[in-house]
């Protein structure tokens, strides 16, 4: 009898915790598929392209971000390989001259301002420091969006408790500031907000 008194609440707690740990993220985040699968590895590893071939800066130092379909068309005017993905890309986007509505994992809220030129060009920070192995991956992982804020899950990071994450995971205001403390950069609110 006494043993149940102790075990029962403990078991309840365990069930509650597990449910919370597993269910909460599922409730908080909605998973969406990318409109098209894209392999960075095919282009950067096998193809030997540099990141800057696709992710460049314009004349004013503004980061262009994800390339437009026109930039891919020089190679993909017609289907070259056997893959279903490439066929879809050429037929649905290149031939119709449409942009792929990529879901951007790293996208910050509209009121946050992030300059790539300061970090990459002048600061010499590697892409991997903030984006992990994205540039060498073979597939695109599912995109997860916070149902309440509409922000990408990558802003918070994969772990709800923010423990045991890779160093590049999570890009909340605190994460920006933690790195800036070392270099005494961007201390005013309007430096990072617009």
């Amino acid at each position: 009898m006494n043993r149940f008194r102790v075990l029962f609440p403990l078991a309840g707690l365990l069930v509650g915790l597990t449910a919370g740990w597993v269910l909460f993220p599922a409730l908080l985040y909605r998973t969406e598929e990318q409109p098209l699968q894209f392999s960075h590895a095919v282009h950067t590893d096998t193809g030997g392209m540099a990141c800057a071939d696709c992710h460049s800066f314009d004349a004013d130092g503004r980061f262009v971000g994800i390339p437009t379909t026109a930039q891919c068309a020089s190679c993909h005017a017609d289907v070259m390989g056997e893959t279903e993905n490439e066929k879809r890309f050429v037929e649905e986007y290149v031939k119709t001259n449409r942009e792929v509505p990529w879901k951007v994992y790293a996208r910050q809220p509209d009121n946050a301002y992030f300059p790539h030129a300061a970090h990459v060009t002048r600061g010499g920070i590697a892409c991997e420091r903030c984006h992990g192995p994205h540039g060498t991956m073979n597939t695109l992982r599912p995109y997860q969006v916070n149902r309440i804020t509409g922000y990408s899950r990558d802003i918070w990071g994969s772990s709800i408790g923010r423990v045991g994450m890779e160093p590049w995971e999570g890009m909340k205001m605190d994460d920006c500031v933690r790195c800036h403390r070392e270099t005494e950069r961007a201390r005013a609110c309007l430096d990072c907000h617009k």
Partner: protein, 251 residues
């Protein structure tokens, strides 16, 4: 040395055309007000007031006075009253920054501002169909319930900094950072620049004998000055109302 951005506005040149107010609204994504909006509930980071010398015809003279946030350097009234730390004076630029995402909408800052240069979002921003395509991506639109004001087109400072960073330069080229009102003024009545740079035009003009600042008796050290060679215009600057002497800004 950190910059101290400031402005000098020549009231003898200003014709009151209002170009600056329009350029400001376009640059900073300020939506057109809904029907029924008044000059108290609408948002005009930059506003042109008309003043006259009080004489009858034919002695009447008038002046137009563009007024925006004066970027008070000392005892900045909106900073000291903000319960949210949503306003700060950037030590690197001297620009008084309002952070709408931090603002809770109490409007103390609007009451505290001696220049009535702060505005409140009584409505969520709405643009007429199609006009949202002309929004400036460098400035985030604000939501209902927060205060806002001029920040010397801070989005343009971002752009200038990015250009400098891409070229590997630590400092921006001053020619790359010009607020929209300055650029749009057809009589070039507004001069903008770094007051800490003694060689800059703005620093020279701010020491001109025609120069004055509004409500300088409050001791808030505004970084916007005005120029006029007309004594009655200069006398507007410290016109004292009935409440004389009592006003004093405390930090």
């Amino acid at each position: 040395m950190p910059a101290r951005y400031g402005m000098v506005i020549d009231l003898d040149r200003c014709t009151g055309c209002g170009n600056c107010t329009v350029a400001c609204a376009v640059e900073n994504n300020i939506p057109p007000g809904p029907p029924g909006v008044t000059d108290r509930t609408g948002i005009t980071w930059m506003r042109v007031y008309e003043a006259d010398n009080g004489e009858g015809f034919p002695e009447t003279q008038s002046a137009f006075v563009p007024v925006m946030c004066m970027q008070c350097e000392e005892h900045t009234p909106c900073v000291s009253v903000c319960p949210q730390n949503a306003v700060e004076v950037d030590p690197e630029t001297g620009i008084v920054g309002q952070i709408p995402e931090r603002c809770l909408g109490c409007r103390y800052c609007m009451a505290a501002c001696p220049y009535h240069a702060r505005y409140f979002n009584w409505w969520d921003p709405k643009w007429p169909e199609g006009m949202e395509k002309t929004l400036n991506p460098d400035v985030s639109p604000r939501m209902r319930g927060v205060a806002e004001k001029c920040n010397f087109c801070h989005g343009r400072l971002h752009t200038a900094r990015e250009k400098a960073a891409a070229a590997g330069n630590a400092a921006i080229d001053p020619a790359d950072y010009v607020p929209a009102c300055v650029e749009s003024c057809p009589t070039q009545a507004i001069v903008f620049g770094d007051l800490n740079d003694p060689a800059s035009e703005v620093a020279k003009l701010s020491r001109d004998e025609r120069a004055f600042r509004f409500l300088s008796r409050l001791g808030t050290e505004p970084k916007v000055s005005y120029l006029s060679s007309r004594a009655w215009v200069r006398s507007l600057a410290d016109r004292v109302l009935a409440r004389d002497q009592k006003e004093e800004a405390r930090g």
